[in-house]
Symmetry: C2
Subunit: 130 residues, 2 copies
Amino acid sequence: MSDLPPDLVNLRSSIDNIDAALVHLLAERFKATQRVGELKAAVGLPPADPVREERQIARLRGLADEAGLDPQFAEKFITFVIAEVIRHHEALTTGPADAGAAAGETGGEAPGGNIEQPAAPRAPVDPARQ
Amino acid sequence: MSDLPPDLVNLRSSIDNIDAALVHLLAERFKATQRVGELKAAVGLPPADPVREERQIARLRGLADEAGLDPQFAEKFITFVIAEVIRHHEALTTGPADAGAAAGETGGEAPGGNIEQPAAPRAPVDPARQ
C-alpha cells in the first residue's frame, strides 16, 4: 500500500468519501419511502404511481446528462433502487392481493414499480441476497 | 396531484432532492474511477485490487448498519456500481487480454471487480442496456 502513487491514494480517499455519502443518502431515502408507504396506506392511496415514476426517471436522466453521467446508468441505478424497495415491500406484505395489485400496475417489472413503496431496510427479509 | 396529502407532497420533494444528490455523487464517483484507471494504466498497476475491494465492502456495510440501512443492500448497491464500472471498462477495452485478466482476478463476478476501474459514463457503449 505504501508504494502507491500519492495521486492514487488521494483518489481512493475521495472515492471512499463519496461512497460513505451515497450510503447515508440511501439510508435517508429508504426512511422517506417507508414513511410514504405508511402514509399512503393510511389514506388509502395505491402503492404504485407509474405516472410519477416516469417523471422521476426522465428527470434523473436529465440531471445525469447535465452532470456528465450516462443517463442510461442513472436510469438503471434508480431502477435498481426501486427494485430493492419493492423486494423489501413484497417480503413484508402479508396479503398476497397487495403484491398482485402492485405487480399488475407495474407490469411486473421493476422500472414501473413504485419508487415510494415502503421499505424496511434493516429487516433481514432476504438472507440469500437473491 | 393537487388532492394529495401535504405530507406526501413534502416527502416526494425530499425523495426528489435525495435522488438528485445521488445522481450528482455518482457522476463525481465515475469521474474519480476514470482518473484512477488512467493513473493505474500509466504506472503499470493492475486494474483490479481485490483486497481493497473487500475492505471497501466491509466498510460500507458497517456505515450502512450505523445509518439504519440494510448492510446487505449496501453491499448489493456497491456491487451494482462496480459491475457498471467494469461493464463500461470492458466495452472500452480494445485488448481482450485486459478484460480476461480482470475477470480472472475477480472470478468473473462483479463483487470481486475493481471498484476503481476506469469508466466512460457518457459513452453510449451499451445501447441495449444489457
